[in-house]
Amino acid sequence: MMTIEELQDIGRLEKEKQEGFRHRIHVCVAAGCLSCQSGLVKDALEKEVSRRGLESWCQVKGVGCLGLCSAGPLVSIEPDGVLYKGVEVSDASDILESLGGSPISRLECSLEQPFFRKREKIVLENCGKIDPESVEDYISENGYEALYTALRLMTPNEVVDQVVRSGLRGRGGAGFPTGLKWTTVAKAGGSIKFVVCNADEGDPGAFMDRSVLESDPHRVLEGMAIAAVAVGASYGFIYLRAEYPLAVKRIRTAIARAERLGVIGHNIFNTTFSFDVKVRLGAGAFVCGEETALLASIEGRRGSPRPRPPYPAEHGLWGYPTLINNVETFANIAPIIRKGGDWFASIGVGKSKGTKVFALAGHVKNTGLIEVPMGTSLRVIIYEIGGGIQGDRRFKAVQSGGPSGGCLPERFLDMSMDYESLAQAGSIMGSGGLIIMDESSCMVDVARFFVEFCMTESCGKCAPCRIGTAQIYNTLKKITEGEGKPSDLELLDELCDLVKNTSLCGLGQTAPNPVLSTMKYFLNEYKAHTDDHTCPSCACRMNNHAEEQK
């Protein structure tokens, strides 16, 4: 039970409380920094504060991802706007000493660098700012106001309409228009409907959803609740992979706190509207990110996809209409309702609106999480935000979209990152993983790696994906071991075409993409392997008979 006044009071009180501190020390407690001991750094800082008796003067707060994961543990000092990188337990005393004075130069991480300047945050606006375990902190950043607006001030149709106008497209991979999906589920008949959040982030190298759930879980909950209002659902599931224990803990905490406040659960904001959210853990199957497999898994069955149609929008969980969106998609909803669909549509390019969160990984200097407007060029992302290639080696390719995506060569560096351009180049936006590769990477070996991933993650239901991926993998393995023949390239082409066009679900249909794109752009490397039995990048373990023959 909660009114808007009460909600705003909570936010105001929280803000006043925080602003009452002269200094606020934010320690990143998302998985990246936690893995390099940011938890101990936070403890040390708290101890140091109490040792000096500064509890009423200085706050130490755990916050979500600050972005530059490669430089963790990260600590930011507010309201001064100073960021420290690579902070260790022993730095606690120095940090407190410097409060109010000049920053510690050996730890300082410039916020002026393009990594921070070039970002435009919608999804990540609260990341690194609020305590992910405090609902009050979220409310102090206008949290749950959009839900109130959607529920009390708008009709469900108006909510759907704003999402349609925003031009938001599914951030999970395929880029299906979110508004259209919502319209379909809203139109589906029946009084029982479900809203499902797909948090089964399985692409190697992708950690956008994890960071959002660890840093700002309430944003996802609010997005789901607004979706429930719009389509008329009263039950929600978050399907989250069990490999993300911290995200699981934070989202469960968030649900419990939101329920206690009455912003999730029964009779939200004193209306008859109820929305129950449960967490379901995935057991580590990539295919469960496919929506029908995900639904089967929530129902307690083997996570295998089924042929569509019927689509989940009309025949989803236990046969009821179900709306499935990805974490990042839901995270965009509250700002769209708060600021309007037109505002969102003004960001981005063409049919790709808003921003996109990318996880930068691979041979790039700054690895971490970035959010940029759709249409930002790869060059800006890699060379400005990413700081260029490690060791200043030569850029060779970027793999976007995970194992379902493609590898793009240098000539696409100035391409705008949007759904259409990527698809045209033979890759996909995917969930937003970007793996940057330098000249030391062998593209045949890269293709082999991704196909191996798809082969072992194939559910085994349909024949082309089950057997075809194994055949493609065997062929690539042979080629990278120096046993390839020129005719293997035709065979690869044929197998890829077969698997792509005849597989049952998206996993199989996109599994050949890494092979097809590398064959398209790096055919010479394949030919060097099959004709001359050499690997131009010297990355493959070739057998010695090629050298013997020379």
Partner: protein
């Protein structure tokens, strides 16, 4: 205008009139009830579409992909066994494109396990072997995978040879849907998938298996067989399926 009085009781009683659509398969005009698939209608009209995982009387899986057909103006191929025709849809079952894909898929299936027809109890009585004839497969141009698979002959009357299994899961479905025992299921994933009895216990020790043998008889190959059969002796008897299906429908009425 109101229908004449003599029709009114009849019309009131018929609350769910069955809808029908007319569409085309290979340029022939055909009619389907709203719940019939392209495959059903094709078979009614004597139009050949190959299938492997499909078996009349069991739920559809859409997994073997041999029944893929083209639908005019749609870039995607559709599995005929689960696709419901729409009015005026134009289905093409025999284009070179789908025929090629079907052949290649069947070739892949032949490479997956160790199928040796000449020493097989189902030689001459095997759905998989028949499909190679139907689709005109003269040889397999992919490399055979030669996996190592076991035979479980612990059951008193039956045995399972995983070397012959095509993972159609007819056994799993018949056991669950018709017999109601759910002894069979599937474990692992991808190329390592295989069917199991009772959480991967030896079939002979299964406490849920009723020994009905339905799985053996729906199996398209000699993966599931009766013991004591020699080469080419294993005939599968499937008459029970349409019979049970009919009787159960009667009961529901």
């Amino acid at each position: 205008m109101r229908p004449p009085a003599f029709l009114q009781t009849a019309l009131e009683r018929d609350v769910h009139p069955v809808k029908v659509v007319t569409f085309k398969i290979d340029d022939r005009d055909v009619t389907a009830r709203e719940d019939e698939t392209i495959l059903t209608v094709a078979r009614q009209n004597g139009i050949f579409i190959p299938t492997l995982c499909h078996l009349e009387g069991l739920s559809e899986r859409g997994a073997c992909r041999l029944c893929l057909v083209e639908i005019k103006n749609s870039p995607r191929l559709a599995p005929a066994c689960v696709t419901i025709p729409r009015q005026d849809m134009e289905v093409i079952t025999n284009s070179e494109r789908v025929q090629n894909y079907r052949k290649r898929i069947l070739e892949l299936i032949l490479t997956e396990r160790n199928h040796v027809c000449s020493v097989c109890v189902s030689n001459g009585r095997c759905d998989l072997q028949q499909l190679t004839v139907d689709l005109g497969i003269t040889h397999v141009h992919y490399d055979y995978l030669y996996p190592k698979h076991e035979i479980d002959a612990t059951h008193e009357r039956f045995s399972i040879d995983h070397n012959r299994c095509v993972l159609c899961l007819r056994c799993v479905r018949v056991c669950d849907e018709i017999e109601g025992a759910h002894t069979w299921d599937i474990m692992s994933r991808g190329i390592l998938s295989r069917v199991i009895t009772d959480l991967n216990q030896p079939w002979g020790s299964s406490e849920t298996c009723t020994g009905c043998g339905k799985c053996v008889h729906v199996c398209p190959t000699a993966a599931l067989t009766e013991k004591g059969k020699s080469v080419a002796e294993m005939t599968k008897k499937r008459q029970f399926l349409p019979y049970l299906e009919m009787m159960r429908k009667e009961e529901l009425r």
